[in-house]
């Protein structure tokens, strides 16, 4: 899989600014520390820390860029961000296209992060619950589709957070099926405001990276096996009482 992105504000590829090993180790470690409390508590502070922690862990393992830039609380978030990632699935394009366009598939794939309401074949309402205050929500419509090749969705501009999503299909060599590429363009420029909003926007700044890989892996599993691997109702002596939101994010924020 490839995973690259560019920072729309300064126009430079962040991949070009990969951080060194030591800094990366520190980043991973402090990310893990920030995350530790949220696995137990459910306060706004813990949650904000978790958002930053998840971001730091992500940056640590990907070595994407400097710690200082990352918290971003004073500097604000980048205006736009474009990321893409690919996965090869052992099915032909027609089958994958049909599965992707099935409304039930979108609901299932987004379930770890967002509730999706199907408003029509080409129109959804989405909402991301937060530990306090109202959920962040909005609507999205399908902008363009080319059967067995491409689908483009976009959130409505009034949503505050502007997200464009492209789904591409290309034949894979050696009878390996189809190469599926998912691409997101996220515009944060409308998300301004107080400290909480800035923390949340910094959280959403990282969210696409966590979402994109999981959506692709889960889509592949669904296509190849008919189910998505899950830890739902996993027997364990702990963590049964975590909040809904923390549960939702747990897969990425262990």
């Amino acid at each position: 899989m490839s995973n690259s992105f560019t920072n729309g504000r300064n126009g430079r590829s962040r991949a070009a600014q990969r951080s060194g090993t030591t800094e990366r180790a520190i980043t991973i470690a402090s990310g893990a520390l920030l995350l530790a409390p949220v696995l137990r508590k459910r306060s706004i502070i813990a949650w904000t820390a978790a958002a930053a922690g998840g971001a730091l862990i992500y940056d640590g393992v990907s070595g994407a860029c400097a710690v200082s830039q990352k918290l971003g609380l004073s500097a604000g978030s980048p205006a736009t961000q474009r990321i893409h990632q690919s996965i090869t699935i052992g099915k032909d394009a027609a089958e994958l296209y049909a599965l992707w366009r099935n409304p039930d598939t979108m609901t299932r794939l987004m379930r770890p992060w967002a509730d999706i309401d199907i408003a029509g074949q080409n129109h959804i309402r989405w909402s991301v619950p937060l530990p306090i205050g109202p959920a962040v929500s909005g609507e999205a419509v399908m902008v363009e589709e080319r059967p067995n090749e491409m689908v483009h969705w976009s959130t409505m501009p009034d949503g505050g957070l502007q997200i464009n999503e492209w789904f591409h299909l290309n034949p894979a060599p050696q009878n390996r099926g189809t190469e599926v590429t998912l691409e997101y363009l996220v515009d944060f420029s409308r998300l301004q405001g107080g400290r909480t909003i800035r923390a949340i926007s910094s959280f959403f700044d990282k969210a696409p990276h966590m979402v994109i890989g999981k959506v692709l892996h889960n889509f592949k599993a669904l296509a190849e096996t008919g189910e998505i691997p899950t830890l739902e109702r996993n027997s364990s002596a702990r963590s049964q009482n975590e909040s809904q939101v923390n549960n939702r994010w747990r897969g990425d924020l262990v």
Binding site: G213, K214, H217, T225, G226, P229, L231, R233, R238
Partner: protein, 390 residues
């Protein structure tokens, strides 16, 4: 139900946890009749492998009886007695179809947690860290088995639990390790480690045509097992100046045709390199003490095969130049149990691959923490503790 849970470094406790239930359509629920300890568990019990969480149920080597099946389970029926490889595998992806089962693409719910560490994610394992999926483990009364039709293997009549249990993990690991060596009739194969995995590898090497198998360890009872139950020649590395020189003497100066590492990241050793590794590992500056592996790399003949079964994380001072200049073939993997299971069961039925001698100590599940303690410290010559959860 009751289950053995990890709570921190060297802190295992049997606790009450929720019963598992069918979640996905290809799931089954297994009532565990027997489960066992593995050297791999020691690595996270000792704190050298990350992404464990307090409350995790551990255990990945097990068997039992199917008590419930999901709507898409067609082949395996309720009441069937089965053994299950430790890796959860879908049976449908490119890797499963190419017999590379532990690399399955579709069974790790935490794929994106593991991907940054390895480049690409692997299959999930029962009870073995969140990077490897976070699935509840097998030292429990019941376990949820995803993809039951692919991963459950029916146990034929006439085989006792002790004869079958090790076909779940130690058996296929050793069998695969010998298979990696492409043994030519009469070859000499040296195996570092006479734990469950090393002994299984030695037995499999003979089955595949080795002329002589050499087992290396320091515990007299384990070396005795290698001689008595496998027919190996043995070396107690504490009783010799240099394992390398002894192996040269035994092979007319050529070296073994293949060397199998069945020790892993917590190798015991002597000398300066061992002291260096211990300090670095204790400071978490490297995860591995790789003494056995380095010795195997030196000992194998030129152009020979190095088969690595021991589990490793990150190691520095790795002698890649020796591998390169000697033209070695290196083969390694987490075990592909589904590939070997039918063959191993046939061998077991003929009495050719009977590993029941590994089960030196039996405990009810309630005493599982003590079972691990004894397994770890080799108390009372313990080689494997087996648990009877029901």
């Amino acid at each position: 139900m009751r289950a053995l849970c990890w709570n921190g470094v060297n802190d295992l406790r049997v606790e009450s946890v929720p019963d598992p239930s069918i979640v996905n359509p290809h799931d089954a629920i297994l009532k565990v009749t027997m489960s066992t300890t593995c050297g791999s568990d020691l690595h996270f019990i000792d704190g050298y492998i990350p992404t464990m969480r307090a409350g995790d149920i551990i255990g990945h080597e097990f068997m039992g009886e199917i008590v419930e099946t999901g709507p898409e389970v067609k082949r395996i029926k309720r009441g069937t007695r089965v053994v299950i490889p430790s890796f959860v595998c879908c049976g449908s992806c490119w890797y499963c179809k190419h017999d590379l089962w532990s690399l399955c693409d579709n069974t790790n719910p935490n794929a994106n947690l593991q991907e940054p560490l390895l480049g690409y994610p692997t299959a999930g394992i029962y009870g073995y860290t969140h990077a490897f999926g976070g699935y509840a483990g097998a030292h429990a009364q019941y376990v949820r088995i995803p993809h039951a039709d692919t991963d459950c293997f029916e146990v034929p009549e006439g085989l006792r639990d002790e004869q079958v249990i090790f076909l779940s993990d130690a058996g296929p690991t050793g069998y695969m390790g010998a298979d990696f060596c492409d043994i030519a009739p009469g070859d000499t194969v040296a195996v570092w480690g006479c734990g469950g995995v090393g002994l299984a590898a030695q037995k499999a090497a003979y089955l595949m045509g080795a002329g002589r198998v050499i087992g290396i360890d320091r515990f007299p009872e384990r070396l005795e097992m290698a001689r008595k139950h496998v027919g190996s020649v043995t070396i107690n590395y504490e009783g010799v100046d240099s394992v390398l020189e002894v192996l040269k003497d035994m092979t007319g100066g050529r070296g073994p045709d293949s060397c199998i590492d069945a020790v892993g990241m917590e190798a015991h050793g002597t000398g300066v390199q061992y002291a260096y590794d211990r300090v670095k590992q204790a400071m978490r500056m490297e995860t591995d003490r790789g003494g056995a592996l380095r010795e195997a790399i030196m000992a194998v003949r030129k152009g020979g095969t190095l088969s690595i079964l021991g589990v490793y994380g990150l190691m520095d001072k790795f002698p890649i130049g020796v591998i390169m200049n000697k033209g070695l073939t290196v083969r390694t993997a987490q075990q592909h149990g589904q590939k070997y299971m039918r063959r191993m069961i046939e061998h077991a039925q003929k009495g050719e691959f009977d590993l029941s001698f590994l089960a030196t100590h039996r405990f009810p599940l309630e005493e599982a923490a003590r079972g691990y303690e004894m397994f770890k410290n080799k108390t009372d010559q313990c080689v494997r503790s087996v648990f009877l959860p029901n």
